[in-house]
Amino acid sequence: MTEPLIFEISSPGRVGASLPDLDVPEAEIPAEWVRDDLPLPEVAEVDVARHYVRLSQMNYAVDVGFYPLGSCTMKYNPKINEVATRLPGFAMVHPLQDPDTVQGAMALMYELQRYLAEIAGFAAVSLQPAAGAHGELTGVLIMRKYQQERGEAQRTKILVPDSAHGTNPASTAMSGLQVVEIPSDERGNVDLEALKAYLDDTVVGLMLTNPNTLGLFDEHLLEVTRLVHEAGGLVYADGANFNAILGICKPGEMGFDVMHYNLHKTFSTPHGGGGPGSGPVGVREDLAAYLPGPIVDRVVGEDGPGYVWKMPEHSIGRVKSFWGNFGVMVRAYTYIRMLGAEGLRATAENAVINANYLQARLKGTYPVPYGDRTCMHEFVAQGEIEGAPDVRALDICKRLMDYGFHPPTMYFPLIVHEALMIEPTETESRDTLDAFADAMLKIAEEARTNPELLHEAPHSTPVRRLDEVRAARHPVLRYRSRA
């Protein structure tokens, strides 16, 4: 990679803008606030444009190619979402404006709360949380407060299956509760006997990712939620995999009490590269009073209907400054309105059939531990190729880059050796799926005939294989000038 830092193309005195003459009185700035030097890059507009365009061309993005990153739902983000979110009435408002002047933005939030509640079968939704794991933490805090207020403060444990997202135990620990791991059975479901053994009056609830990280819909789901409820616990749904069941079934009707939505996954807002995301939380009727606020309420006054901020009665409080990540909400709202109910259902159907198509094409060559089952929106294969003992999932992923694909998620979930977690999403054509499957099969052949090709991959990317071990053991955390 040869692109220098923007500081390194700086040239003293070069400027990118010319300011007009001062036409207002010059303000006095106290001398102690004025500094002698400000080491910012000195560049022209063309330098800036070329520098960042060149960097963007080295990047790989879902607008460049196929991105089958399991658990992340890297679907294509329709550009109409961007058009909507840039409308001046949405883009130019300030969070401290009087509510009377932002009624349109509040109406959108109110409608989005209602749509999300309807789609997942819940009574109420808060749009406050900033992303998925933040939604989880919010959900766990709601469950904890609910148990405490009904006099069950001795409940301090959250059960988490070993096929859950890694953020589930992290959110639990963050909320001050204790994590108890529940094993999976041989078909990838929650092990019912193990679950029963842990269910007592110390359990706040269960966090369940369904479909789970193996891409499997739990075959005993109703039994699981019933058992937890009988023991006085609540059931939390990790909505990260909601794309698989959108418009087909509702978590609120399957015994889930709380769920977060990943607007940035399921509802097509750009993510990766640090967000922003949005992780609204939906709850059943009797938990609505605990939601974080403010949420938007609709009131009908003398002048007609209007929208107001409202803090739920037993709210766990604020979890985010201002009103959440509003731009993401506009995109998600647009996506829902563009697709409608039938379109949302077709989204899930196509996501599932695409994943099953890839699973069927790969499973003769790559082991798929639960491959006898129909998967949902994703599946987990193993980077273990017969006749190529020295090739690991890492090598396969690096080689995929040479074929122009983003690698799948690897080494997760932890319960599968050399895991390759593949989620194609509904937005890919059969041509793209076939091109990816062909590349995977060709790589398996290369692994047997020319393993060095894989060990040294990637060969055609802007940077070759990075020394990840050295980077982790001896990280360089600040910029050092090459001069």
């Binding site: 690991r392 690897m410 080494y411 997760f412 932890l414 050796h417 990840e468 071990v469 982790a472 053991r473």
Partner: protein
């Protein structure tokens, strides 16, 4: 089978080992565990003076692939930790039964050792798990 097994230690199902020395035990992770983790980049150890419980999380190993909890194979008070792992976590890959010991405990319940596997049982366990 490409893994090394040390006959002088007892093993937990979660792939930690304990080597008894008098009324103390030295704790580490097995060769199979380090191989599954691949290159180890960081080890978080318990504090000297803290107490660990058999089967409960007591340390964390981080590799380029994953961060994994380490569970105490025996209970007792931690009386020493291997500070060399701070600067040279790669010892876990190079010498898992020797230089890469994690910590030393004063055994509070030597009877617990019966819950651990001997080398033959552990070898069989690893072979069944690898399949």
């Amino acid at each position: 089978m490409k893994y090394e097994f040390d006959p002088t230690v007892r093993y937990a199902k979660t792939h930690e080992w304990a080597r008894v020395e008098g009324d103390e035990a030295v704790v580490g992770i097995s060769d199979y565990a380090q191989d599954a983790l691949s290159d180890v980049v960081y080890v978080e150890l318990p504090e000297v003076g803290s107490t660990v419980q058999q089967g409960e999380q007591c340390a964390v190993v981080e590799s380029v692939k994953a961060a994994e909890d380490v569970y105490a194979p025996v209970s007792g008070e931690v009386i020493a930790v291997n500070e060399a792992l701070d600067e040279t976590p790669e010892l876990v890959n190079e010498d898992p039964y020797g230089k890469a010991w994690f910590f030393r405990v004063k055994l509070s319940d030597p009877g617990e050792l019966d819950n651990l596997m001997d080398v033959d049982e552990y070898r069989e366990y690893v072979e069944s798990e690898a399949e």
